[in-house]
């Protein structure tokens, strides 16, 4: 476990040393959400109805932007070969990177979401469901996005390709994430959607590091 903690610590130190990445993702999220009132008009109850969907789509796209850099830094300067030789299995190293991405990028997004929900006049009933769904949904985004980042290592136009590959796979997270908020606003119990989100998170946390490690291993050959 200490090796995993060391790998995670290295990632977090790297991320803290250049906070620009996480800040860029949050800024994109805020900007993307802010564009909608100019698009659909400032009318409160319309914004309230689409608030959950807008916030989720903006968070999904913001996470996509920061995923491209997930493995690229280590891959380009060759330190991934050394990491691969570490006693830690490659899937745990890759898992540590995904966890670091979640901590450095998705947590700021989760913090920013209620603030932006205020801008979109979300009803008070939806806030808890929104934050809970985000907390359970964004890890799956980091995990599945990590597989996409590993697959597009060294590909031409990797960043754009990453989004094309990963967004269709994240549609279930979007459906249940936004569905949780709608259920809360309609007064139904939110447990069902949150349980499905948690199930997807657990399945992804089991499969995605292994798949991403396989993708990275063939990229290192």
């Amino acid at each position: 476990m200490t090796a995993f903690a060391a790998a995670l610590g290295r990632e977090l130190r790297l991320a803290i040393r250049e906070p620009g990445e996480a800040a860029a993702a949050v800024m994109f999220f805020v900007l993307a959400t802010m564009l909608f009132p100019f698009g659909v008009g400032p009318e409160a109850n319309l914004l309230a109805r689409i608030a959950a969907g807008v916030l989720w789509v903006a968070a999904l796209l913001a996470a996509m932007l920061s995923l491209e850099r997930l493995f690229l830094g280590d891959y380009e300067d060759g330190s991934f070969e050394i990491l691969a030789l570490a006693p830690l299995p490659l899937s745990l190293i890759v898992g540590a990177k995904m966890l670091a991405h979640w901590l450095t990028t998705c947590i700021p997004l989760i913090v920013a979401t209620p603030l932006m929900a205020v801008l979109l006049d979300l009803d008070t009933g939806g806030y808890f469901a929104l934050v809970a769904a985000m907390a359970l949904g964004t890890p799956t985004i980091s995990l599945v996005g990590g597989v996409g980042a590993a697959l597009t290592l060294g590909a031409r136009r990797g960043g754009m390709l990453l989004s094309v590959l990963v967004l269709p796979l994240l549609i279930p997270v979007l459906i249940f994430g936004a569905g949780a908020v709608d259920a809360a606003l309609a007064g139904h119990a939110v447990r069902q959607q949150l349980m499905v989100l948690a199930a997807m998170f657990l399945a992804a946390s089991a499969l995605c590091p292994w798949a991403a490690a396989a993708a990275v291993r063939q990229a290192l050959e």
Binding site: L151, A155, L161, L165, I171, F176, A211, A215
Partner: protein, 255 residues
């Protein structure tokens, strides 16, 4: 597994293809011809949907083929990654565009069937939505397969993506169905498959079998082309790295 390995070497696969391809091509033509003849000539219009039900004879088989092609790609991906089957990736590359075309046909005919039935070209019906997502899985696969300079990288990455996509397909189908029943727009009456009377079932099965043979024929052609393309790349590579030393009489100009 040894059976599969018998066809492993490209040469043997090509010899097999030469023998089978004319047969599959002809059976495809005959089956589709028969399917159309029976579909248009002998099967009655649906009591509810009238003649638009005839679109089903091309819409449903293409939907089946879209799913079948993705399943075939996932199996080839697994064979390529796990057993290092040399031909698996080439076959998966050949199958992807065919599957994408079947998906496009399925969506287009679905929309053309939806307009008279639902009054709108596109309705977020669970099945149409799932097939639309399947199309993006295909396009993602094709984009990734061609995004690398060396072919082995492209092969393995796209194989992993095909497997990840195959694992995700049931989850996507489940969540889209759940989402659709939740947001069931009043106007879209969920068209259950029309009660398949035998007069409608036979053309449907004929067309499905015809599409399967058509897929096999196109796959043989595309795999042959993919093998030739790799051979061409190898030849160009060899030529670039070993210019003929003083080869006066051959006079090979680097065209």
């Amino acid at each position: 597994m040894s059976g599969l390995h018998r066809f492993a070497s490209p040469a043997r696969f090509l010899r097999l293809a030469d023998r089978i391809q004319p047969w599959t091509a002809w059976t495809a033509a005959i089956l589709i011809g028969a399917g159309l003849a029976v579909g248009f000539g002998f099967s009655p219009p649906d009591y509810q949907q009238g003649d638009t039900v005839r679109i089903m004879y091309v819409h449903v088989p293409s939907a089946w083929m879209a799913l079948f092609c993705y399943a075939a790609m996932a199996v080839c991906a697994a064979a390529g990654l796990i057993w290092r089957h040399p031909l698996a990736h080439v076959i998966a590359h050949g199958a992807a565009p065919i599957g994408a075309c079947f998906t496009i046909v399925c969506l287009a005919t679905g929309m053309l069937w939806g307009k008279p039935m639902w009054g709108r070209w596109w309705a977020w019906d669970a099945r149409l939505t799932s097939v639309l997502i399947l199309l993006f899985l295909y396009l993602g696969y094709i984009a990734l397969a061609n995004a690398f300079d060396n072919t082995t990288r492209g092969d393995r990455s796209s194989a992993i993506l095909a497997l990840v996509g195959a694992v995700n397909l049931p989850v996507i189908k489940f969540s889209v169905d759940w989402w659709n029943t939740l947001h069931q727009p009043a106007s879209v009456t969920r068209i259950g498959a029309p009660a398949i009377h035998s007069s409608m079932l036979t053309p449907l099965l004929l067309m499905a079998a015809g599409f399967m043979c058509l897929f096999a024929t196109l796959l043989f052609i595309r795999v042959r082309a993919a093998l030739l393309e790799r051979r061409l790349r190898a030849l160009r590579h060899a030529r670039a790295h070993a210019p003929p030393a003083g080869g006066m009489d051959t006079g090979t100009t680097l065209s």
